[in-house]
Symmetry: C2
Subunit: 325 residues, 2 copies
């Protein structure tokens, strides 16, 4: 199957690596809205201008969209679904129903398939929540993120006057993890579940106290959390905080038995050196499934909830039953 | 949807509780090979003789088979698939391909659907291995079981002359779990991964040393493991070892990145007060999916690898996208 990538940033580098390493996929094109001559990619994949896409519909089985959820994907996924089978990682949870409807309409009209909101959250974590709630209907869910870098929170700090650079780590509170595992279904507040650690490079002569105050009182991003701010040099940030590690844990605890007499806990967790490279690897497996669903005659929007897991694997159904069941 | 249960033991009690508690399912019949008058069930579900099944095909949407994998299910699942949509928990891993073929032939001929090998291993653990291997193709899998009661190993001890009763716990070795999580993909031997703890009630005057020797040298079951044998009274066994707790952990560790430069770990774990009640709860969710797949026109054998996870849940696709994605 022939795969294309639309947009070339961190996530696209992850998709590029995963598709390149998969024996059953060829990465045939990377599209950019920048001047292709200025974009240097990690493999020898040809780079094309965004507007070249329209003429290449017959050369690409699945297009993996690597833009952002704020402004890129709400426009791009429905648009590109008119030309290609598409996969995206749209992660604005509250807007997933609307995005699904937009992609579904475009894909049905064009006779393509569009799988939205793939990756790990939404994605593998969503699937873990679904299996856990189906297996243990009488229970409660908890999702913890981190320890890992939140790019959105890091960006929010960088927009504060006097800040030269910043890295924000989301950190689950160990006591909250234990409470979720306990089976007692505690109600946990935002503040009880996660803390936020900020490493900030200030501009020369900036007012550090004002920066710290601006961070810890920032609504939505920080004011509901116990937040620590540590000022460091650009050198230290580059040396110790260059990576994009992430991960997290989905926990469901609940009860079985006619009288709810048995307590059970289900847990799914990820520890990732590189958030975008792992997410890219998940997107590559979903591209395989999208191709197979389209080959099977399906059209319209899908999420990972709709994908039989066997379709994600390069192994045949027989191999899976013999070796992974 | 109307559900039947074929065979009434521990697992059936779990299915009975789960189906009874599901708003979208009615448990309409329990079938037994014993005299129905002698079988007392936990709910007010009517109990029928095994041979009554044939006349009730139109009253049951899905039959959940609760027999054993050694001799019951290889016969029963293909046989009952001629009359009903069926779900089983066949767990002899090596024979899954043959069992699948037998059920597939019977179900295709009858126009029914048969989902085999459901539960947690095989079942949710299989699905966890599949998602993890698809997301992280360059890696290695580890499955640990326990701490929990192995009924097969407990039975094997009970067959030793001089043994009145026994309970065997399978226990994962903490150092092996850590090694699997390390991302170094160690090769772990059977002995390194699990230990076996045996609690044995001896008959009056039995030769304890001979019993212990018979246990620890028993091929397949114990000789490849570090096994401890503790003799206790029947009262102590009844008081402290009456339950059937189990659980385990599936770990996949591997690498992403063009040069395998990023290490990732994926982990799925279960901690269960009651193995049969949790397994029964999973079977109930699969019965729901089987019914929906049949409604959709599908026939033949399936495993949980073939089931889009959305079909397991009582929630609609819209609700799932809005609340669990």
């Amino acid at each position: 199957m022939k795969v294309g990538i639309a947009g070339y940033g961190n996530l696209a580098r992850g998709v590029e690596a995963a598709v390149t390493k998969a024996d059953d996929m060829d990465l045939v094109a990377i599209f950019t809205r920048r001047d292709p001559a200025t974009v240097s990619v990690a493999t020898d994949t040809p780079v094309y201008a965004w507007d070249d896409m329209a003429g290449m519909a017959d050369q690409i089985d699945v297009m993996v969209l690597c833009g952002g959820s704020a402004t890129d994907l709400p426009e791009q996924t429905p648009q590109l679904a008119k030309l290609f089978n598409v996969v995206d990682s749209f992660d604005t949870h509250a807007n997933i129903p609307q995005h699904f409807a937009n992609v579904d309409a475009a894909a049905r009209e064009a006779g393509t398939i569009g799988v939205i909101s793939c990756g790990w959250d939404p994605g593998l974590f969503s699937v873990a929540r679904l299996y856990a709630s189906a297996a243990l209907p009488n229970g409660a869910d908890y999702t913890f993120w981190g320890r890992g870098v939140s790019q959105g929170h890091s960006d929010a700090i960088r927009r504060i006057p006097g800040v030269a650079d910043a890295r924000q780590y989301t950190v689950p509170v160990p006591e909250a993890l234990e409470a979720a595992r306990s089976g007692e279904n505690p109600e946990l507040t935002t503040r009880q579940k996660h803390t936020r650690e900020c490493f900030v490079v200030a501009e020369e002569g900036a007012d550090l106290a004002a920066i710290e105050e601006a961070i810890v009182t920032m609504p939505t991003y920080f004011s509901d959390y116990d937040t620590t701010v540590t000022f460091i040099s650009q050198e230290e940030l580059n040396a110790n905080h260059a990576g994009l590690p992430h991960g997290g844990t989905v926990i469901r605890s609940g009860h079985t038995g006619l009288a709810d007499e048995f307590a059970d806990t289900i847990e799914f967790s990820l520890t990732l050196d590189s958030n975008p490279f792992f997410t890219g690897s998940v997107l590559a497996s979903v591209a395989r499934a999208a191709y197979r669903m389209r080959q099977d005659g399906q059209i319209g929007a899908r999420t990972m909830f709709d994908i039989p897991p066997a379709l994600l694997s390069p192994l045949s159904a027989e191999e899976l039953r013999a070796h992974l069941m």
